[in-house]
Symmetry: C2
Subunit: 339 residues, 2 copies
């Protein structure tokens, strides 16, 4: 230790944590000595001593065959988190969940590698909910993004998917497109359920009876799942005179468009289609895809920010849970416009 500056070990520590009253002179002396000795505090020891790692964990789901970062959704959220975490001087620890394995979140904390976590892509199934409840009971700080659990009061940063979906359907109806099919994501994601709710509400508000079974489809948010639905959607277009399709994300919309194209059915000519997420791709598609813009980046930033405030005790209403719902916005492009 660099107490060859003529002072004690403790003083050095004080300097590096600028804590307690310190004489400017000794301070300088220590800093100088540290410089000379090319000293660098050992973060590991430091974390150990103060029982805080200085890391924020991000728990990522395991998606077979998907390059996680290469999805607009995760990329944007992570960029947002990363940015905010860096501002606060924390580091980001990525935790990849393993294939099936019950998510052992607790050990992540107990092993002291993170001070708090942002958890992505959790599903509303007993096992995963249980893991969260455990965390909650242990009083370990975490925040979910884009997922909530009915009847549970977790920290959540979400977006108004119900409202976004409502707008999409409203837009269809305004154009006289009343035969609408929905390709939703799995119902174990609260955001999928939100979308369904928005759709049904919009239809009801227009005096319609909601969504028939024959017009409801479910994919898993992958491009492939959209592609595989092409055949069935083609049927509804031909036989049930469906005019418009609302896909719960852009990737499925893209897959579907490709699939239908191969069947000779073209978007903008034979049917209209809207996606969701407003990913970059929406702009480049032919025709450009109407979509709902979701502030994923900002959601990541917000989740990180709130969590850090909570850690740093800066959040006044510490008792209050984080409950943030961010706005969405319909972006109309050619894929839903009659010529």
């Amino acid at each position: 230790v660099a107490e060859r500056a003529g002072v004690s070990e403790a003083t050095v520590s004080r300097v590096f944590n600028n804590v307690a009253p310190l004489k400017e002179q000794t301070r300088k002396k220590v800093l100088l000595a540290a410089q000379e000795l090319n000293y660098q505090p050992n973060e590991l020891a430091r974390s150990f001593a103060k029982k805080r790692s200085g890391n924020i964990g991000v728990v990522l789901p395991f998606l077979p065959g998907v390059h996680l970062f290469s999805t607009y959704y995760f990329s944007e959220i992570l960029s947002g988190i990363g940015n905010k975490v860096r501002e606060h001087g924390y580091d980001l620890l990525l935790k990849y969940r393993s294939p099936d394995e019950k998510p052992d979140l607790i050990s992540l904390y107990r092993s002291r590698k993170v001070d708090a976590c942002i958890i992505l892509g959790m599903r509303d199934v007993p096992e995963e909910e249980g893991a969260l409840v455990e965390l909650e009971e242990e009083g370990l700080p975490f925040c979910l993004v884009n997922q909530s659990y009915p009847g549970r009061d977790f920290n959540v940063v979400d977006a108004d998917h119900s409202g976004g979906s409502f707008e999409v359907i409203g837009h269809f109806l305004e154009q006289g497109l009343t035969r609408i099919a929905l390709i939703n994501g799995p119902q174990h994601f609260s955001n999928s359920r939100d979308r369904l709710r928005g759709v049904v509400n919009a239809l009801r508000d227009a005096g319609m009876e909601g969504l028939g079974d024959s017009l409801y489809f479910e994919g898993n948010y992958s491009r492939k799942s959209g592609f595989l639905l092409a055949e069935r959607i083609a049927q509804t277009i031909r036989k049930e005179s469906v005019q418009a399709v609302f896909a719960a994300n852009d990737r499925m919309a893209i897959g579907l468009m490709q699939g239908l194209k191969e069947l000779g059915i073209l978007a903008g000519r034979d049917y209209f289609i809207a996606g969701y997420d407003d990913s970059d791709a929406a702009r480049w598609l032919e025709p450009p895809l109407t979509s709902v813009k979701v502030p994923f980046y900002e959601m990541g930033e917000t989740a990180a920010d709130q969590l850090l405030q909570l850690l740093e005790g800066a959040r006044e209403e510490a008792a209050e849970k984080i409950h943030i719902k961010m706005g969405t916005e319909l972006v109309v492009r050619a894929s839903t416009l009659q010529i």
Copy 2:
């Protein structure tokens, strides 16, 4: 500590590290006790004691205004790294470099938060090279991806960009497209220089004189930089009868195509264009974009794998530096095909 199992602290440690001769019986006893007490080793203390963090660092460049993960390039590499690192039981620590600040890589190690690093997006400028040389001198393990330094012998996982570019030009020439413009990336990236070399070689091999100044442009790999070059490229198409453009990545190609479209100049009709990276977008563009596929994901995996082997001492030729160059592949699509 769970030595309430009737044994000593040291024995518990031995069990958890399965080290030294151990009687199966005591082993079981400890494990049982641990279970009952719901004990979980404190990784922080453990790291501290054995001076290893169990983390692999990934150093990311600061790119103003860019959502880092939302670029095909970084996303894929990170996915690859993440995947491999998880397999080895390490965790990933993301380190965002700050705006300008001389990259202080050393402190990352000295602070003991990482055991080794994969460094992305470094440039061939004295300052950044210097930082790497320092690391090298200190004997700290790291690996670069997609960037090398002439005259330096760092660990590098790279791809054959010279070969890929060679193929693009060859493809143009085969089709009788001889007036070719290049939009390259900044020359402080070795991969940009590689591409230029490939282009020039291909032209020379065909008995041409190389690339005139008027046919060389430089962007910064962003979509915007491609877009901003539209005006100047339009000139070369009109006045210098340029027939084909080779952009050093897909993002610039996309930007350029958009820009030219706004000027009434259409890809596939008024000029031909090839990109590089073979990102997802290439497939969806109109017309679909010819591009060079680069195994970014595999490069990430490989870099992580090699580095981990090095750490674990599994690399036989520990003395040898890592020098891997992965293959690239031309993917021809409509944007370079005469009708």
